[in-house]
Symmetry: C2
Subunit: 196 residues, 2 copies
């Protein structure tokens, strides 16, 4: 609700969002109690309601936080080169295994928040739109550089790629095995290469 003005305030708010992000990612949004979040963040309830008007708004901040994480990682690579895409895919696989097969930091929240309807669903749609746009821009760059045929549709390709990523995460999480995600990303990469 209120934006923090002091250094301490900013740190507290950030700690709350961080703790909430971890717990909601691991257990799910609805399964995470505010008391747990506060205990993990090491502060009381008044702070939470000083900065957020409801659990819903905290969820929105968490979604934003997780999206920034994902886009930040993507930003470390060149999504307009074949090597960059490949490296990004490898990083996704490694991250999923390292985090214990808990799924996509954004996608895991997305399913629950989409079902909730209302503003939550709208926020999820926007988050994915930003992710899709980032990927599509990379593909558009490749098309202009002649690395992709002019018949390639960056928007649709970006959506199909993201779908493979999300589906790969989902199956990998269900099986607690990286295999399905690797198969999904291999297929996604081959699909992109077919337009080279």
């Amino acid at each position: 609700m209120t934006e923090p003005t002091t250094r301490r305030g900013r740190e507290r708010k950030s700690a709350i969002v961080g703790a909430a992000a971890t717990l909601m990612y691991e257990r799910g949004v609805r399964a995470t109690g505010l008391d747990e979040v506060l205990a993990a963040a090491g502060c009381g309830k008044s702070q939470l309601y000083h900065y957020f008007s409801s659990k819903d708004e905290l969820g929105a901040a968490v979604l934003e936080h997780q999206l920034a994480l994902v886009l930040g990682e993507l930003g470390q690579y060149r999504p307009d080169t074949w090597g960059g895409i490949r490296a990004w895919f490898d990083a996704l696989l490694e991250g999923q295994a390292k985090r214990g097969f808990r799924g996509c930091p954004v996608g895991a929240l997305a399913v629950e928040m989409s079902a909730a309807g209302g503003k939550s669903q709208q926020r999820v749609a926007e988050a994915f739109a930003r992710w899709e746009t980032t990927v599509a821009e990379g593909l558009e760059g490749m098309r202009q550089q002649g690395k992709l045929t002019s018949s390639a549709r960056p928007g649709a390709l970006a959506q199909a790629t993201l779908a493979s990523i999300q589906g790969g995460y989902l199956l990998s999480t269900a099986h607690h095995d990286i295999g399905p995600m690797r198969a999904a990303l291999t297929a996604a990469y081959a699909r992109l290469r077919s337009f080279a």
Copy 2:
């Protein structure tokens, strides 16, 4: 817990699972209260605990119910022919739109249940394994008929296909738009055709 022996008993149990399936699919597992389920099924709490020992077991029955739905639909087509696969994909798209972009009947539950851990997660893994096997068997048939090259790996292809389906559902649900799912399934089909 107890299996019903009379006709009335079977109908009641079936009504409970059906109502729970609808509600859990629409709102999520944890967001669905037992009282809501019972109200929708038109019976009291003692029935539920006469047939199920916990909400968790009810969830397992719902998952089974939804998987049967999905496999039943798949069974209407010939998953070892190009036309059959195409028709199946079209049916998936149509179903998603018709049900109001609520996602995959199985996948929507899967995310929440996987995060819950324990037996729930195991059951989800098994459900997807059965789905994957069914698709893989179709592809294996195609390979033996020479419709797919011998280098094609039915298991991995089935996983990649399912990943595209799940990811397509997820994005389509987030955007409330069939476009992303269509893009995902188009890519999945093209990937399969590349082994023709």
